[in-house]
Point group: C2
Chain length 295, copies 2
């Protein structure tokens, strides 16, 4: 029987746990106790709420990735400077009161020039590489803060973060555009057109955004179209800026289904075919890799 | 004695009134009862709260500009399509119960291609032209939704809106950058550098924004510098996109003090000298013009 352990994806707004036997998932659970809802002494209770039934008298290994390792997290797992392999050889131990827990946190990565940081994505990258041995190229990880990562010979060489996801959420949910955009809608043609337009004139973004509002006032509401256009404009502008990353490269996109597919679609409009991998599966694969490397 | 009337600047979040005798300001008052706090039947009471002491038995003319004339305002004053003079020859009468009030609203302007709208800025433009007879060129009106307006022979020929001010407020107040930016601080050199950088590489905006956060995490907080950089990046990207408007033109900037000066400074870095005029004074001058034109 494979050894049991627990895999944990602990981000800013979510906590997801998997009961593992070797590389097999035996059970899973989740809560909304993300890092930004917890003080330093709140992490152990939040974890126990989900995993207590899985614990035994001998300490269980718990491997965590994500914002749980930030300065505002359980304990700071200092950034490792690139270039380096995505996973550290030693993880950072978190203080616990419960003797049944042996908690370790995967450190994030940093880059000094230009300054940049990641936490959580390094584990997804490690998972992807574990499944695609010898893969070289560029990985795009769309999310609140989208990362573009250049990989070579199993190492992260450089990376760049774009605030595209957060801009979309703020604009669609809190700006004047909220009246004109329905995020449950989609219009694939409008997305493609807006993405192409933003790629050729990325600097026009702030003006093009207001046009969504003006078109609503003058021509009537088209909330699904406006949502796809907003997404296309932001992703198109990002792709224009990230061109030095992806041009002529082997590309993979790791993310949640809908947003990752939008990136794959926008890249294909530029004649690039990208491999798609789901972020949840890559996180699990990365934590499996961390578990084997640090046994 | 000049005839008494009341000038009203009624925007989304504010209500400002001036008791006027001809072009002289006799008194002023203000409240926070902007358009977005009021239902249709709330406008008359909100106005009376401020101006009741100034009313007489004979109806007093009240001239209003701004979002009060939008579909969600007191009564819709339909947009006038450009090209046209900034002020209409006839204003839109708002329904009132109090016989002492004779309320008229200045209509906004619209443009069909590309779709765009303004409300309130047309009055500031009219005020500026009234003070600078025969002025031709381009007016920039920074604000939540900054306008660039091309004027010729006393008419608004075309205009374009940028969501720069709203982006700044969302990013500085609600995004992950809020931890790194202090909007009470300023650093003129950082502003200039960021504005120049964004003008030469406007497409890099979403990446350059996250660098403010990463620099904070890796190099320590510099909240005043980060505020000036954020402003410089957004204004620089806007200037890059608005270049067809201002290049080689006579330029005026109408706005509140600090933000308008930032635009003037950014334009001067590009070798352009712009005339600065305060938005409050231009609104008053525009309403004086409307009062004389429609007597």
């Amino acid at each position: 029987m494979s050894k049991e352990w627990i895999a944990v994806d602990w981000g800013t707004t979510h906590l997801r746990v998997w009961r593992m036997a070797g590389r097999e998932i035996m059970a899973k659970a989740a809560s909304d106790k993300g890092m930004n809802t917890l003080a330093a002494d709140g992490f152990e209770p939040a974890l126990l709420e989900l995993v207590e039934p899985w614990l035994t008298e001998t300490p269980t290994r718990v491997l965590c990735c994500g914002m749980v390792g930030s300065r505002q997290g359980w304990i700071e797992a200092p950034y490792r400077p690139v270039p380096c392999a995505p996973l550290a050889e030693t993880l950072v131990r978190a203080p616990t009161r419960d003797p049944r827990l042996d908690v370790r946190i995967v450190p994030g990565l940093s880059q000094s020039s230009p300054p940049d940081v990641m936490r959580g994505e390094e584990t997804q990258i490690a998972g992807f590489l574990a499944l695609k041995d010898g893969w070289d190229g560029v990985i795009c990880l769309p999310g609140t803060h989208t990362k573009w990562v250049h990989l070579s010979a199993g190492e992260v060489v450089s990376f760049q973060t774009f605030m595209t996801g957060e801009l979309f959420a703020l604009l669609a949910g809190q700006s004047v555009l909220r009246h004109s955009v329905d995020t449950s809608g989609w219009d694939a043609a409008a997305f493609a057109e807006a993405a192409s337009e933003a790629m050729s004139r990325p600097e026009a973004l702030a003006a093009r955004l207001f046009r969504l509002r003006a078109a609503h006032l003058l021509e009537g509401p088209q909330p699904a179209r406006a949502c796809a256009e907003l997404s296309g404009l932001l992703i198109g502008a990002e792709l224009a800026a990230a061109r030095p990353y992806w041009l002529g490269q082997n590309i993979a996109v790791i993310g949640a289904d809908a947003v990752a597919r939008a990136y794959v679609e926008a890249l294909s409009l530029q004649g690039n075919s990208a491999t798609f991998a789901k972020s949840d599966a890559m996180t699990q694969a990365g934590l499996v890799k961390a578990s084997r490397d640090t046994e």
